[in-house]
């Protein structure tokens, strides 16, 4: 207690400039992002829900892809058949599955539950699979869904509504966590998904900054996909495609009321592996493939693209990278008082989290957020420390070892040829 009292005495003795520097991390990396953006998002008018017939104005194809998902396919297809706006075409793709998935698809095909089935004997990666399916689709819109996902009854109806706007090339769905009960780490991810997707993308939408129509669940205009030549090789194909669509001038929408549930990793190891992949792919795509977006002299340079690049650079990369320096600086500067300072930072962040969570819950219809409430404390450590460390490690890894090129998620043969 001594330490805390002393520390408080010490802090209160600082000048306001010093205090500001003390909480710089919070002030710079948390408050603007959450407080400002989310506040806007929460009170900005959300897209209006349309009558059902609007969703039928354009035909919809759904591509269900999976690797060794023999059990998931029938379940996913059934949830598609249950839609208030059922798809006009269902294309199932098994990417080199070895667990009898082709037989499952054959049966689904025979029963007439799906319209096309494709499978390969060799794994070719998600992009290649999506590409061939995309060409089989004959509909105006293509909804892309992982076969381990399941949809709300209204999901497809809502996700296709924004396409009434001819400028919209793709719409991201609101992916939420189905297995929040599985573990603490899963519950934290559930909160994370609520905040970053329901709230974050909603906020991004306001500023036309939606950058990732997730591969788990999103919809695209077929003509737009054809224009960008489908997916490119390598991981992070969803981000890749979205960035390319943006590059071609398409607007990307988001529907918080088009909810899709997916299972998240329920162990730290699995989560770390997943995030390493995501973060590496993001770095690779943003700062290698699409680095031109930050070059004002590049012909394709646009401010809107620069904005989300900077946002990512500042809040994700810098936010993560600065953490160790900040902590070292705290201890160097304040010695033992650093603990107390960190603690107070944490308390501050927790208050922010609490507030943000409420905003996110407001932005996420149809999802029971209350059960996640007790996990906010854990989420604070998860997001503030753990994820930052993971990200940092991932960035370092990518920066130094270019690991995204060896990702097991993409077959080695693809990595081998893709080069830089």
């Amino acid at each position: 207690m001594n330490l805390i009292t002393e520390s408080f005495d010490y802090i209160s003795a600082q000048s306001s400039a010093s205090i500001l520097s003390l909480f710089a991390l919070v002030i710079i990396f948390e408050i603007p992002r959450y407080l400002a953006l989310f506040l806007v998002a929460a009170f900005f008018e959300r897209p209006r829900q349309q009558p059902l017939d609007v969703s039928f104005r354009r035909s919809v194809a759904v591509i269900v892809a999976g690797h060794n998902e023999a059990e998931s396919f029938p379940r996913c297809v059934d949830s598609l058949m249950e839609q208030s706006r059922p798809p006009d075409q269902i294309i199932a793709f098994s990417d080199g599955s070895t667990d009898g998935t082709p037989q499952v698809l054959r049966d689904l095909l025979a029963k007439g539950k799906i319209h096309n089935a494709m499978w390969t004997d060799l794994r070719g990666g998600k992009s290649a699979g999506f590409n061939i399916c995309q060409r089989m689709a004959t509909c105006d819109l293509i909804v892309n869904i992982d076969c381990d996902c399941s949809l709300d009854r209204d999901a497809i109806r809502r996700i296709v509504e924004p396409f009434d706007d001819p400028e919209i090339g793709g719409v991201a769905g609101n992916i939420q966590v189905r297995n929040a009960d599985a573990s603490l780490i899963a519950a934290c991810q559930a909160i994370e998904y609520m905040i970053t997707i329901s709230l974050g993308k909603q906020a991004a939408l306001v500023f036309d900054q939606v950058t990732c129509a997730s591969g788990g669940y999103s919809a695209f205009r077929r003509s737009a996909l054809e224009q960008i030549g489908g997916n490119d090789a390598g991981g992070g194909e969803d981000l890749d495609a979205t960035l390319r669509l943006r590059a071609y001038g398409w607007k990307i929408g988001f529907r918080s009321d088009s909810v899709c549930y997916t299972d998240v990793p329920d162990t730290v190891a699995a989560l770390v592996r997943q995030r390493f992949r995501w973060e590496r792919d993001a770095v690779r795509l943003r700062f290698r493939k699409y680095s031109y977006a930050m070059n004002p002299f590049h012909p394709q340079f646009r401010v809107s693209e620069l904005a989300h690049q900077l946002e990512f650079l500042i809040f994700n990369i810098l936010g993560a990278s600065i953490l160790p320096f900040y902590i070292v600086w705290l201890f160097y500067q304040f010695g033992s008082h650093a603990f107390v300072i960190l603690l107070s930072v944490k308390i501050l962040l927790m208050i922010i989290d609490f507030y943000v969570f409420i905003l996110a819950a407001m932005c996420t219809p149809h999802v029971n957020s209350l059960k996640l409430f007790p996990f906010i404390l854990a989420y604070n450590f998860y997001n503030g420390l753990f994820m930052r460390c993971v990200r940092l490690a991932a960035y370092v890894d990518e920066w130094i070892f270019k690991s995204s090129y060896k990702d097991s998620y993409v077959p080695q043969k693809v990595h081998d040829v893709r080069g830089g």
């Binding site: 095909l109 029963k111 096309n116 390969t120 794994r123 990666g125 290649a128 699979g129 030549g229 489908g230």
Partner: protein, 926 residues
């Protein structure tokens, strides 16, 4: 008992204008009422109905009737009581003419008190024509001013205490029809004359026998003579007498005879001596005799001509009490004059004779062997018995011998023999008892002609033909027609070209699409067999269906010279090397012959398609095998010359009965529209069901993730990515081929897989692979039970549940049953017949040996007899044993069947597993 009295047979009303009669029908059966009423109305009479005696009396008091027909047994009041009361009130003079209707004529006839009121008695079931004739005769009498008419018939004439005027009147009627002087003829005289008329005639065989019998003295009794005749003979006699004997006789004598008959004592007579032939024919009033004989006719028609009643009886023994009516009397044919017995062990000959004789209107029964024939002759009156001389059990003459020894006092059938060795028959001591011998191969037409001849002569015109028949009695049959002989030779030459001598039924000469040729029928009817069926021109199984209709022809091997029958033939000659044909044919025929002989006779004779098929499978190595066949819409065909649809329905049946077991053969896809299996199987587009599919390899360009069909990449000999325009240089390095894609040429859809669809070649219908129906086809093999069924007959299937057939019961048991039945009717003393079957007998026999099983069986029956004591009468048969237990109700029997079972098996070394079924009076006689 000869009982009821019919009419005067002269034509009704003799051309005079018909005057309607008032007829009262007193009858409690509405059906009989209605039919009689309708019939008599149609004949122009006024008919009134009364349901019982009281209303009849009321009606008779209110109105004058010419004729009253009364049911003798009515509730409340007997027919005779009605009449007595009426006559008592009004006096006989003004009575109508009464006729009695009864199912039990003996009851009336035995009661003089009653009978005297009735002018005639109709025994149920009577023919309505008799009634009509009776009424007509009354009308005739009336219109010629006769007081009372139709005092015809033996009994009534004998009974009625007629006044002389009445007698006079009656004669007048008779004279009216045939106006001749009457004369009396005593019975001895009649008998002598009859014998003189027809010396040696088969009709008089029994009469002749009794003539010589020590105990018999009644052979001179004309009524006896007449009664011993078969109905046909009676008719013949009637006609004969009508033409020969003028005058009349004292009718009362006939009644006396009737009385004697009723008091008959059983007697066995055995005679071999010929009849007297030296008596001169007498002259009688033709009409009178005609009338009397006519009166007998209904007896014959109803067939109630029981052995006991007809027994020889000392003449003049009037005082004998009326005997109880033995129920055995009821075992008689419906129409004796048409009943023919065939005793023959070849099913084919049986069938064809039965077929042809039945189609000529005869009632044909078939006996498998001599023993059965004897049993059947004992149980039923036959008019002709056509017997194979060589039969298992008793041979033909032994049957006759037994008949002569064991049946007395009633007519025996005319015996005709069928034999391949006439000389053997003639050499036999009893051979001469055959009226006719047909030497095999005989011409069936001869048999038919002979039977028709006998029938005709029996039914009329015997005077001339009798001698001719008699003459033929001992003579061997005339040689078969040249045709048949030639035919037999032809048949035997069928396989000559293969160096094999065998009698073959040839397609299309002998069996054609329409059936069998006349010659083949005659040949088979003559008792000749075939060894095989020879197909020398294209034939379908449908064409050969007739093989399954006649006897056991379906068990003959089918030799196919055309090769068209494929697996349906047993030997397909074109597929054989020339050198082995003869040997193979002989071997096959031998195998079939042996197998055929192992088939139980009842199975060989079965008319059940499934049983025929089972037998066919048995002789054909016990397996029914399907083979692929493009010619058959089913896609397969069974190696059995029956239509496959028939086979399929039959095998289901047999498999259910566990006679066959099945083994999977193949699964056929069947058109939903027309059931054809002739389908084009194709890979189709899932979208549009077009088979216009092309399969191409998928190419995956790693660099840009483009994945598409090979043709997207092909530029000349190079592979160039359509997305990134890079050249694909190195398989496995910058691209690979991860799978295939199927493109539809019709709708452009692509997929990794194709659907399967079926297009019917027969009707054009398309069916998706998921929707197509399938049919599993099996090979069938006879089970052990199936083999047992074939070899041992239907007992294997039926077990205890088999319906009890009287014909199967031994005579002694039938007699006992009848006694019990009468007791039951009269005193309600219950009885119960138990039949004991042994479904496991075959298995037991093979396990423990025949002797032990049979001994155990005997012991078991003995156990039961001891248990039931005096009340039980047991009988051991071949397949079943029987126990008749008096004073035991069938319900009690069923309730205690477990106990009986225990008792039966106590002390036995082996478990016979008997199946006891019980039958009460209702089941047996109801």
């Amino acid at each position: 008992m000869g009982n009821n009295i019919a009419h005067i047979s002269g034509s009704p009303s003799g051309g005079r204008a018909a005057e309607p009669l008032h007829v009262l029908i007193v009858e409690d059966s509405p059906v009989t009422q209605d039919v009689l009423k309708e019939m008599l109305r149609a004949a122009g009479h006024k008919v009134h109905l009364a349901g019982d005696g009281r209303s009849a009396l009321k009606a008779m008091n209110a109105e004058n009737f010419d004729v009253v027909l009364i049911d003798y047994h009515m509730p409340h009041m007997h027919g005779s009581e009605v009449v007595r009361e009426f006559v008592g009130q009004k006096g006989e003079g003004s009575s109508p003419i009464f006729g009695a209707i009864t199912a039990d004529p003996a009851a009336i006839l035995n009661d003089r008190e009653q009978i005297r009121f009735f002018h005639t008695v109709f025994a149920k079931p009577f023919e309505f024509e008799e009634v009509l004739s009776f009424v007509e005769s009354v009308r005739a009498g009336k219109s010629s001013d006769a007081a009372i008419a139709a005092r015809s018939g033996a009994e009534s004439a004998a009974v009625l205490p007629l006044s002389s005027e009445e007698k006079e009147a009656e004669r007048e009627i008779a004279v009216d029809a045939t106006p001749e002087a009457e004369s009396l003829l005593d019975q001895d005289e009649l008998a002598r004359r009859l014998n003189a008329l027809m010396p040696g005639s088969a009709f008089f065989e029994s009469l002749e026998q009794s003539d010589d019998g020590a105990a018999s003295t009644s052979s001179d009794d004309p009524l006896e003579i007449i009664r011993q005749l078969r109905p046909g003979a009676q008719k013949a006699l009637e006609d004969m007498l009508a033409s020969l004997v003028p005058g009349s006789e004292n009718l009362s004598q006939i009644k006396d005879v009737q009385q004697e008959e009723n008091g008959a004592a059983q007697q066995v007579t055995q005679v071999e001596e010929p009849a007297e032939t030296d008596r001169p024919p007498a002259i009688e009033t033709q009409k009178d005799l005609t009338d009397r004989l006519d009166a007998l006719m209904p007896v014959a028609r109803e067939g109630s001509f029981p052995a006991e009643q007809a027994n020889a009886v000392p003449a003049g023994d009037e005082g004998t009490d009326a005997p109880e009516e033995d129920a055995e009397a009821e075992v008689g044919p419906a129409d004796y004059s048409r009943a023919v017995l065939i005793a023959e062990d070849s099913p084919v000959t049986q069938d064809i004779l039965k077929l042809l004789l039945s189609s000529s209107g005869y009632e044909v029964d078939v006996a498998q062997d001599g023993t059965e024939a004897l049993k059947m002759i004992k149980a039923k009156n036959y008019f002709v018995a056509l017997m194979d001389y060589n039969m298992p059990g008793l041979n033909g003459t032994e049957v006759i011998k037994h008949c002569l020894e064991e049946i007395s006092g009633r007519a025996l059938p005319i015996f005709a023999a069928m034999t391949a060795e006439p000389s053997a028959v003639l050499a036999d001591k009893y051979g001469e008892k055959f009226s006719k011998i047909f030497a095999k191969p005989f011409n069936f037409d001869e048999v038919r002609a002979y039977i028709e001849e006998v029938a005709e002569s029996v039914l009329g015109g015997v005077a001339n033909d009798g001698a001719a028949i008699t003459a033929g009695v001992l003579a061997p049959a005339a040689a078969p027609t040249v045709n048949l002989k030639e035919y037999s030779a032809d048949v035997a030459r069928g396989l000559e070209s293969y160096g094999v001598s065998a009698r073959v039924l040839r397609w299309p000469e002998d069996i054609g699409p329409a059936g069998f040729s006349v010659a083949a029928r005659q040949y088979m009817a003559a008792g000749s067999d075939f060894d095989a069926v020879l197909i020398s021109e294209r034939a379908t199984v449908h064409d050969l269906r007739h093989l399954w209709t006649l006897g056991d022809l379906h068990l003959l091997p089918i030799i196919d010279e055309t090769g068209q029958l494929g697996p349906k033939a047993d030997v397909s000659i074109p597929s054989l090397p020339r050198g082995v044909v003869g040997r193979l044919l002989e071997g096959t025929m031998q195998e079939f012959r042996e197998a055929r002989q192992s088939v139980h006779i009842e199975v060989r004779q079965s008319k059940e398609t499934s049983e025929k098929l089972a037998a066919s499978i048995y002789v054909r190595k016990r397996v029914l095998t399907p083979e692929y066949s493009a010619e058959n819409a089913l896609g397969f065909t069974y190696d059995c010359a029956q239509e496959d649809e028939e086979i399929l329905s039959a095998v289901t049946n047999l498999t259910e009965q566990k006679l066959l077991q099945r083994k999977f053969f193949d699964r056929f896809h069947v058109c939903n529209g027309c059931q054809s299996t002739h389908l084009n199987v194709r890979e189709e587009c899932f979208e549009c069901r077009s088979p216009n599919l092309s399969e191409t390899t998928l190419v995956h360009h790693f660099r840009c993730a483009y994945q598409g069909p090979l043709q997207d990449f092909q530029q000349g000999s190079d592979l160039v990515c359509p997305k990134c325009s890079r050249e694909l240089r190195h398989f496995g390095v910058d691209y690979d081929k991860p799978g295939i894609v199927i493109n539809c040429g019709a709708c452009g859809a692509s997929s990794s897989d194709a659907a399967v669809g079926f297009k019917c070649l027969s009707c054009g219908q398309h069916t998706d692979g998921e929707m197509i129906r399938t049919r599993d086809v099996f090979q069938y093999e006879l089970t052990e039970k199936g083999v047992a069924f074939i070899e041992e007959g239907p007992i294997v299937i039926g077990g205890g549940q088999k319906q009890l057939k009287f014909a199967e019961l031994p005579l002694e048991l039938v007699i006992e049953l009848n006694k019990s039945a009468r007791e039951f009717t009269e005193t309600s003393r219950p009885f119960c017949l138990m039949s004991i079957g042994y479904p496991d007998r075959r298995a037991l026999t093979s396990e423990h040996g025949f002797r032990l099983v049979e001994v155990s069986r005997s012991q078991m029956v003995e156990n039961l007899r001891n248990y039931f004591g005096d009340q039980a009468i047991t009988h051991q048969g071949t397949d079943y044993d029987y126990i008749l237990v008096n004073r035991l109700a069938v319900e009690n029997c069923r309730a205690n069947i477990e106990t009986y079972n225990e008792v039966a098996l106590s002390g036995l070394k082996i478990d016979l597993n008997p199946r006891i079924a019980s039958f009460g009076p209702e089941e047996l006689f109801g």
